[in-house]
């Protein structure tokens, strides 16, 4: 006999906001798209001239400024596209394979 397949909703209808609206702004932050990544950018802070282009050109808003003024990828969100490495004028960013 086939087992009953669990097909669960993520929220009960009584708890839905009016019109199925989403009330928490920017709640996509809960979704860690870093798990999509096959390669990760590694920044050489020595080479970084702090121009910020990697931050500007990141479609995933993953390049963040460190206290030192250089940039680091937020691996929670970085999908590893490599635009930052391609666009860095100082070649300060290299892509390395994510390990198994």
């Amino acid at each position: 006999m086939a087992e009953k397949v669990e097909k669960r909703a993520i929220i009960g209808w009584r708890n839905l906001a009016l019109g199925c609206a989403i009330l928490e702004p920017g709640s996509s932050m809960h979704l860690l798209t870093g798990t999509w990544r096959l390669q990760r950018p590694v920044v050489d802070p020595e080479k970084c001239n702090q121009c910020g282009l990697c931050h500007i050109y990141c479609p995933d808003l993953a390049m963040t400024k460190t206290a030192a003024g250089t940039y680091e990828p937020d691996l929670n969100y970085c999908k590893g596209c490599g635009i930052c490495a391609e666009e860095c004028p100082k070649d300060a960013i290299t892509l390395v394979e994510e390990k198994e």
Partner: protein, 347 residues
């Protein structure tokens, strides 16, 4: 409109606003150039604005229940009616302010749709909204095909591109039509502001969006939006390809202010179109002859834009030289008068 542009303060690349209306965690593809253009446009407008979105990639990737990537008010209704929905929002704010029901009606409204939602199925609603003169910014994120449904051609798919509904074959070389001139269609509505933008030129993009928000009436902004999935290029090349599109004159950056064309970036030594095409496998099947046809079309289109923008130069030259002529006349008359006067006194 003049007043708004006079007080227009450009973004300082060193001090860009920190607030990101679009949050990380959205589900766009790796290396998506469209979400980059959208993010930069939203960033230019800041916290106090509203986004009206068409159905499409940007809607799907930013609003899948129960999470939203939006930190500003955002509304999605359907595919083809974004401009009409934005009309309603704008009219509502205006009348409710007039009736004292709300405090502000100067909140920028950003209506966003893709190339299909703009140039195909949404064209009628857009035309109506532009004609009615609503105060909103319409952003067309042009990734040159229906990417959300799986890369089917649209009326903005470029000549020669392979899509799932314009495949190259024995009798076909891919898309057989040139792109519809969507900005020119917007210009034909005699709206105050039309511009093309490209995420590789992020300051230009942000400044144009901000400018559009300061202008009363409809603004139409056409954004080049590389799509690694649909154009079949490596994700890391999204910005590079966007830049090449400008450097090869494939996608010139210009503004049309009150009907007058301004070519923002003159490309005097363009790179060959081939360089732009070769990074994208959607063009991989093209022959030398096909590429020649594309190159010729790019040349012609650029020349046309150049002539349109030179018309503005010529006009200002004409006005200046006429003024100079009048001034000279005045000077000559003055001299003649002095001479006469001197002679008169002499006698």
């Amino acid at each position: 409109m003049k007043i708004a542009l006079e007080s227009f303060e450009k973004f300082d690349p060193q001090h860009l606003p920190e607030f990101e209306p679009l949050a990380p965690g959205h589900r766009a593809c790796q290396g998506c150039g469209e979400v980059l253009a959208l993010r930069l446009a939203a960033k230019a407008l800041g916290r106090e604005m509203m986004v009206i979105s068409a159905t499409g990639c940007m809607e799907i990737i930013s609003s899948a229940y129960p999470q939203t990537a939006w930190r500003v008010p955002w509304l999605h209704v359907a595919f083809e009616n974004t401009a009409a929905v934005a009309s309603g929002v704008e009219a509502a704010l205006r009348i409710m302010k007039e009736k004292g029901k709300i405090a502000r009606d100067d909140i920028p409204i950003l209506a966003v749709a893709g190339d299909g939602g703009t140039a195909d199925i949404g064209l009628q609603a857009l035309s109506g909204a532009l004609e009615r003169g609503h105060n909103f910014i319409y952003l067309c994120l042009d990734n040159e095909a229906y990417m959300n449904t799986g890369i089917q051609r649209s009326s903005l798919t470029p000549y020669g591109a392979a899509t799932t509904t314009s495949p190259p074959g024995k009798l076909s070389m891919g898309e057989s039509h040139f792109k519809k001139d969507m900005p020119a269609i917007a210009v034909a509505h005699k709206i105050p502001y039309v511009a093309t933008v490209n995420p590789a030129f992020y300051l230009d993009l942000m400044n144009k969006v901000k400018k559009a928000s300061l202008i009363k009436g409809p603004a139409y902004i056409h954004a080049f939006s590389p799509c690694p999935t649909g154009w079949r290029h490596e994700g890391r090349y999204a910005v590079k390809i966007a830049r090449l599109a400008v450097q090869t004159r494939v996608f010139p950056l210009y503004e049309v202010i009150n009907g007058k064309y301004f070519l923002n970036r003159k490309i005097s030594k363009p790179k060959p179109v081939r360089e732009y095409l070769k990074l994208q496998r959607r063009f991989a099947h093209l022959t030398e002859e096909d590429i020649e046809i594309i190159q010729e079309n790019v040349n012609n289109e650029y020349d046309r834009l150049l002539r349109l923008s030179q018309a503005v130069d010529l006009e200002s030259k004409l006005t200046t030289s006429f003024q100079e002529y009048i001034d000279q006349l005045k000077l000559q008359m003055d001299e003649a008068y002095q001479k006469l006067r001197a002679e008169f006194q002499h006698t």
